[in-house]
Symmetry: C2
Subunit: 119 residues, 2 copies
Amino acid sequence: MGVEVTDGTIGLVGDDCGRYCPSFHQTVELLGRRWNGVILHALMARAERFGEIRAVIPGLSDRLLAERLRELEREGLLSRICPGTSGAPRYVLTAKGQALGPVIDAISSWAADWAQAAD
Amino acid sequence: MGVEVTDGTIGLVGDDCGRYCPSFHQTVELLGRRWNGVILHALMARAERFGEIRAVIPGLSDRLLAERLRELEREGLLSRICPGTSGAPRYVLTAKGQALGPVIDAISSWAADWAQAAD
DNA sequence: TCAATCACTTACGCTTTGTAAGCGACGATC
DNA sequence: GATCGTCGCTTACAAAGCGTAAGTGATTGA
């Protein structure tokens, strides 16, 4: 959805909201909160266990990973699945989390095109 | 671009990178750094002047706006245009910045669908 | 010319993050 | 069955980032 404006460039806006949209704000802050983006990316690439996620993301510490997983669970983006009595818990995306796929994709695609480019 | 996996769910990955991609990481951290997302959103909705941007985004202070604008300029997402000798500077997106349109759109669309939903 | 606004900058305290160490539960090994 | 190693966290503390508030020089307006 792009809105043509007078001079021919494209002004992209979400839905009904013009220049500021609280739900957009909320989403972009959640997505971009440190590590959240890459954690979701890893989950979409089928990482499931705590250690597995941590191993995939360089620089991410236990502490922050635990905190972010709790947060993402609270937001309903993933579920923590504890198998019966013992065994390691697994983290899987909910429908809400899966729905972020296109966002992750759009970012990946932009990153591929522009990541290092000077302008 | 979605990759079908065994059980029918969709694992979305950027390009060639499987579970972790540095350029994706860099991008998502930049985009999600506090206020950056909404600032870009405002710029796409054609806000151009310092005070204009600040007025549109509730809670954003002068200090952080100045810092973020400098940062986004350094990253090449926007240009700071100083008209000749005097007059207020204007901020406009570069091609690189404009290219984030689809990302902003994807986020807006997700926000519209899921922002407040419980699951 | 005097005040007001604009686009910032500086100073300071609080919150979030990074680093490192520790802890209980479980599995494998001796 | 005691020890060792790993896994999934938690705790403690220093550093970095952020929010609030006040200040500054350059323009604009009365």
